[in-house]
């Protein structure tokens, strides 16, 4: 778990400022960027995986019931999943609602 950028001391940096904790960008929760979120109609979802395939943020996940849904920690609300869904079962809904 990396400390926040503005708290790291010079001694704590790895030699050459190399980052050894791979994939730790997950600490940064891009979900706060959203102004709308994708809502999936579970019953209409045909589990094709196209939304998962086209998400630039890897933030579509397989729910336990088998359908796909957004990982709201990272979802930026770009709307690609809603646009690309072959059966149109994803709707973009404003965050305010």
């Amino acid at each position: 778990m990396a400390k926040p950028m503005d708290q790291i001391t010079w001694q704590e940096l790895e030699i050459g400022a190399v980052v050894v904790e791979i994939g730790n960008a997950r600490q940064y929760e891009t979900g706060s960027w959203r102004s709308e979120r994708p809502i999936v109609d579970k019953k209409q979802c045909i589990r094709c995986g196209v939304c998962w395939l086209f998400c630039p943020d890897m933030s579509i996940v397989r729910a336990s019931e088998g359908h796909f849904e957004a990982n709201l920690t990272y979802c930026k609300g770009c709307g690609i999943c809603a646009k690309e869904c072959p059966v149109g079962c994803i709707k973009m809904v404003s965050e305010e609602e």
């Binding site: 950028m5 503005d6 001391t9 010079w10 940096l13 030699i15 050459g16 400022a17 190399v18 791979i22």
Partner: protein
């Protein structure tokens, strides 16, 4: 020790040192006066005498980039350049040090354009003074050969992890045939441990190198680098001490000649030291209480050693091989003035800039510089600099 000294061109000796060091990757672009080093390396790789990848790159910028890639995977890496080549690769030169990538460069000091000049001075190395590399200056072929090994040892030391430049004067050293004693491969293997790099790029242990820094963290990254350079100092001394124990040839950050009882000293860096020492002998016979101070380690600068050598002297005559236009004069004099600022017993400094672009500085010239410099010091005419031998 019964070893054979052979007369050999210094460039060839350096290439042979690289061979003995069992380098893995050599990436270089030809530029006068470094060409003989890389040509000989290409030859020994082609003949199978050295098992290494010789990469003839498309530019010096690519040369340093290839070296960064090679060092990043933990391969023992060597390159060589001069002047314009150093200028072109300077972007990556700084980055190599920032990323703490160990590698050795034979820097054949040559004048920077313009006007174009292939001959020797220190304008090229002074351009990259602040890059964070370790710089060793050599005075003759033996030193260049020896310090190539010391450079690998220092660079790859886990407590150092910094690129090292072995500076040698272009043509004056690179193209000179000098008597050089080669060491046995067994001694070299004893001296140079296997290069084990902590966070080398490898799929078994992935890391990210070269992440960018926001203002919130950049200062800390730079302090980490500064400490790295400063902390390399004891390791450099250790590497030289061990070389001295094995070969009988000892190197120090500041070396002096007849300076202990001298009233005043001349200060040189690079091949000028040899000629200067002969002039010191002659002037001593004439009653001048003059000595010689030679700077071998330029970065990290050996402040304590330097002060120990010169505090209490009346004045120093500093011979620079580069000029900072519109500035305070030669870069070496500038550093020394700074090192002595407000120190008790600090000598006055008279700055001469001599031998730009390989113009010969003979024993007579040294004599003139020393005696003129003495007069200037006596009349307190120590500001600025004198461009020695200027017509007009």
């Amino acid at each position: 020790m019964g070893k054979v000294r052979k007369g050999i061109e210094v460039s060839i000796a350096i290439a042979d040192a690289v061979k003995q060091a069992d380098v893995d990757v050599i990436a270089a672009y030809p530029i006068t006066p470094q060409t003989h080093i890389v040509e000989h390396l290409a030859e020994i790789v082609a003949e199978g005498e050295l098992d290494a990848e010789f990469i003839p790159v498309d530019s010096e910028h690519s040369a340093m980039s290839v070296c960064c890639g090679s060092a990043a995977v933990g391969a023992r890496t060597f390159t060589s350049t001069s002047s314009q080549g150093l200028a072109l690769m300077s972007e990556i030169f700084f980055i190599a040090a920032a990323m703490r990538l160990p590698m050795v460069m034979a820097l054949a000091n040559r004048s920077l354009s313009g006007p174009l000049s292939i001959w020797n001075d220190h304008t090229d190395v002074m351009m990259v003074r602040d890059a964070g590399w370790i710089h060793i200056f050599t005075e003759n072929g033996q030193e260049a050969y020896d310090n190539t090994f010391c450079a690998f040892r220092i660079s790859e030391d886990p407590k150092v992890m910094l690129p090292v430049a072995v500076n040698l004067d272009g043509f004056i050293l690179t193209h000179m045939i000098e008597p050089i004693e080669y060491e046995d491969d067994e001694l070299i293997n004893q001296y140079l441990p296997k290069f084990e790099m902590k966070n080398a790029l490898h799929p078994d242990k992935p890391v990210s190198m070269g992440c960018f820094a926001m203002p919130e963290i950049y200062t800390e990254a730079q302090m980490n680098r500064e400490q790295g350079v400063v902390n390399s100092y004891p390791r450099i001394l250790k590497a030289w001490e061990e070389w001295g124990n094995l070969t009988g040839r000892h190197y120090k950050p500041i070396e002096t000649y007849r300076a202990d009882d001298a009233e005043y000293c001349i200060v040189t860096m690079g091949s000028y030291g040899e000629t200067a020492s002969e002039v010191v002998d002659t002037l001593r016979e004439q009653g001048e209480k003059v000595g010689l101070v030679k700077i071998r380690l330029w970065r990290p600068f050996p402040f304590e050693e330097f002060r120990k050598a010169v505090l209490g002297k009346k004045h120093l005559i500093v011979i620079d091989r580069a000029i900072s236009f519109g500035g305070p004069g030669g870069p070496v004099a500038l550093e020394l003035r700074s090192a002595l600022y407000k120190k008790k017993g600090a000598p006055a400094i008279v700055n001469y800039i001599a031998g730009l672009a390989g113009r010969d500085v003979s024993r007579k010239d040294f004599t003139n510089i020393i005696l003129e410099g003495k007069k200037k010091a006596a009349s307190r005419d120590t500001d600025g600099f004198t461009l020695y031998g200027l017509r007009g």
